[in-house]
Amino acid sequence: MAILVDKTTKVITHGITGKAGSFHTKQCLEYGTQFVGGVVPGKGGTKSEHGLPVFNNAFDAVKATGATCSMIFVPPGGAVDATMEAAAAGIKLIVLITEGVPTMDMVRCKKYLNDAGVTLIGPNCPGIITPGQAKIGIMPGYIHKPANGTTKNIGLISRSGTLTYEAVWQCTTRNIAQTTCVGIGGDPVKGLNFIELLGMFEKDPQTHAIIMIGEIGGTDEEAAADFIKKNVKKPVVSFIAGRTAPPGRRMGHAGAIISGGQGTAESKIAALKSAGIHVADSPADIGAKVATVLGMA
């Protein structure tokens, strides 16, 4: 079991002939993900360097391939348009990798997707991986350990990219496998958030514990703490980045900013601790904390 994606998921890449889109499609194919085509306006009827069919639009691509998932590498100015096109064409899960999407574009796009009943991951995210089955994103595949009937497994939700790789690697080196890892992205307005994914991992029988990696900015971690208190029985290990971040400054991610006294690491950590969540004080201790809650240490 896993959540959202597995080896049967059929994926197309928006922007498959661009530098990043082409490179990462190749990496995902090598990992074993079922990519079935790509979309590039004006290049319909050609083949990508991977030998995949290229379509002019998402409608043609879905009709010809039966794809249900789209990985989007379109630059910021057109990313939201590509996302809405994918939704209109019947794609059910959209992974929007693009960094730098204007916030107001996302405000409009999110409402559009919600009305259409389409699930979005991102933007400004590493994507999603179900180790051993499907990698739809830019994370290095080899650091992950696939879950099976005998492994102890975590599900992971994170606002960060490389910090996620760090946490995954700490688990893998301790023989802790991962069911699915989802990078929800570093932007203030995004698709799936902690709460929806916590609910999915709570229901997934193969997931034994959940890692939740947050950072300064907004109040999503506080909302998640409240949700966990009421709805999640599985152990949750968390780390919040940015304890030393100065207020009013955007720390790399568009969403990582303490503003008007809201969004501090202290507030998030206090909320998580009061909900009984195991919070790692150091980013180096995430794996060890997980091992402890899983009875492996």
Binding site: A20, P76, G77, G100, V101, P102, T103, M104, D105, M106, V107, R108, K110, K111, Y112, P126, I138, M139, P140, I143, S158, R159, S160, G161, T162, L163, T164, Y165, E166, W169, G186, P188, V189, I213, E215, I216, G217, G218, T219, D220, A223, F239, A241, G242, R243, T244, A245, P246, R249, R250, M251, G252, H253, A254, A256, G260, G261, S282, P283, A284
Partner: protein, 391 residues
């Protein structure tokens, strides 16, 4: 991106809001003529800097004659403003705004931000104008009334009526306030703001048989950096003198750099990992000198520039390099490290922690280069302890 108050007033005016007359000068010699242009009488003289705390610092003053305006302008332009928000060195004032002083009857707050939890812009108003809205939010949250904008339909007239009602405004005053709020929302949406604020919006005192007027006295706009590419007019308002020169230099190489007060320089890939690296330095008793995310697709030139920027900060007594190679490859960073050591020269210890893509080749490169200042670390904790011990 932030803009100055006079630029915010220009934007409001262009959007059809009632803004008092004003003049902007950059030399005290222009003060007297600016004073005459706005009609004399009592005026307010305001230093144009992004930092807050201007009033308490003496950089917002009332003046009654041209000589007074000129002297105050000269003082503000000559002496950096030091306030709670600026640090001890203060900030240089380059422009001064002069506007007629108004007799205030009531002050209100009107602001618009993104409500992240609802993924929609929200308009907030309060009868407690003229003070920081954060203070009101902390002490008396019920005094802030909110209306959320529909993402596709925009702010509706009934919502504007609700907001002006909540401020206790009636008749022409309510209509005038609604017009200003509508202008604010228009700017927020059309120019991709992250913050749009009028504080205070005032009702002036009735005088000589004339009723009071609704006016926007001070305005503040912040813009979404991600949307600047489609707003040449806003980009043109950028004032580089308000920014840290290292941060501007870093932007040119697609590096995300923020200067801090500590003495341990950090070079990291990824924003979350970069923040965590600062955190772990602090956890082991050190103080980070900067936030620096070199990004996923860092070039060798970009990485060398990153070292140059860190090393140009005289406070830096040691450097921690923390790379988890995913898209960014460890060997690229190692090569940049070796190049920077040759070109810039390391005068401080450098602790390097590499993991991920091409890590073996990177370790080999570093071992072969034999750079005496470089120490390698086995993991994140080891790296933090080593760099903290070295400074």
């Amino acid at each position: 991106m932030k803009v100055h108050e006079y630029q915010a007033r220009q934007l409001l005016q262009a959007a059809g809001a009632a803004v008092p007359r004003f003049e902007v000068i950059d030399s005290a010699d222009q003060a007297a003529s600016a004073y005459q242009k706005i009609g004399g009488g009592q005026v307010v003289v305001k230093a144009q800097v992004h930092a807050g705390g201007r009033g308490k610092a003496g950089y917002v003053v009332l003046c009654n004659n041209p000589k007074d305006v000129e002297e105050n302008s000269r003082r503000m332009l000559a002496n950096p403003m030091v306030s709670k928000q600026t640090g001890s060195q203060g900030v240089q004032v380059r422009k001064i705004l002069i506007a007629p002083a108004v007799e205030i009857d009531k002050e209100y707050y009107v602001g618009m931000v993104l409500d992240r939890a609802r993924s929609a812009p929200v308009v907030m108003v309060s009868k407690e104008g003229g003070v920081e809205i954060e203070e009101v939010a902390a002490k008396n949250p019920d005094a802030i009334i909110k209306e959320w904008m529909h993402p596709h339909l925009g702010l509706q007239d009934f919502q504007l009526r609700k907001l002006t009602n909540a401020l206790g405004l009636e008749g022409d005053h309510a209509k005038a306030a609604a017009k200003i709020m509508s202008a604010l929302a228009k700017i927020f949406i059309e120019k991709d703001c992250s913050l749009a604020e009028i504080n205070p919006l005032v009702l002036t005192k009735a005088a000589n048989g004339k009723p009071g007027e609704i006016l926007a006295i001070d305005a503040k706009f912040n813009f979404d950096d991600n949307a600047l590419f489609r707003h040449a007019d806003i980009q043109a308002m950028f004032d580089p003198t308000e920014e840290n020169p290292h941060e501007i230099r870093a932007q040119k190489f697609n590096l995300s750099y923020i200067a801090l007060d500590g003495n341990i320089g950090c070079l990291v890939n990824g924003a979350g990992l970069a923040m965590s690296t600062m955190d772990i330095i602090k956890l082991h008793g050190g103080e980070p000198a900067n936030f620096l995310d070199v990004g996923g697709s860092v070039t060798p030139e970009g990485a060398v520039e990153a070292f140059r920027i860190i090393l140009s900060d005289p406070k830096v007594k040691g450097i921690l390099v923390n790379i988890f190679g995913g898209i960014a490859k460890c060997d690229v960073i190692a090569e940049a490290l070796i190049h920077a050591a040759k070109e810039v020269g390391f005068k401080v210890p450098v602790v390097v922690r590499l993991e991920g893509t091409n890590v073996d080749r990177a370790r080999q490169l570093l071992a072969e280069a034999k750079i005496p200042q470089i120490t390698t670390a086995t993991d994140l904790t080891d790296a933090a302890k080593k760099v903290c011990a070295a400074v």
